[in-house]
Subunit: 109 residues, 2 copies
């Protein structure tokens, strides 16, 4: 059956947000340094509004934080959310390892 929980929706948002190279690039840059929205927008071959939307998607996924500073908004990458995604994938890998271990145990009999 498998019903979507609140937590699942958050995970959906994180991976969905990461499934776009422009957004991944924004995450990279804002983890390594800080950028205002306009500074980011100058880096890409698309409208300011488009970049603004990408930032909004990242913010909704908590991959990025928007900090008001005068008329600017400073965008900061959020390593905690990256780590969360990483840990989920690590769990997946673990499932596989467990299966292999069980197989090995079986063959060892």
């Amino acid at each position: 059956m498998v019903v979507d929980t609140r937590a699942d929706e958050n995970i959906d948002r994180i991976f969905r947000a990461l499934a776009d190279s422009t957004r991944r690039d924004i995450v990279r840059r804002t983890l390594a340094s800080t950028f205002s929205v306009s500074e980011l927008a100058r880096e890409y071959d698309m409208s300011f509004a488009a970049v603004q939307k990408h930032v909004a998607v990242l913010e909704a996924a908590d991959l990025v934080q928007k900090i008001p500073n005068g008329r600017e908004r400073i965008i900061k990458g959020n390593p905690a959310t990256i780590r969360k995604a990483q840990e989920l994938l690590a769990q997946f890998e673990h499932l596989w390892r467990d299966r292999i271990d069980r197989l090995d145990a079986f063959l060892a009999e």
Copy 2:
């Protein structure tokens, strides 16, 4: 400017595929054990064709492999692709660590 390369499109597909709880569940199951498409379909409250499509998305992302076995197709989760995604996220985290290290070095002066 940032142009989408072939490699970027592959990454897009991986994260896009993971951005759906049904698909994540399929990955989990097929990493831990093996399932035919029908066996998988029975687990979810949607049509067989819908599950078939989810499997196709996972296969296109190389998160899953489809192995013919008589009239069945056995679906196997692919840990290598999970690991690839994990490593990319680890690189992201590294960018952040580098920034913090530079900041520390600056403050230490």
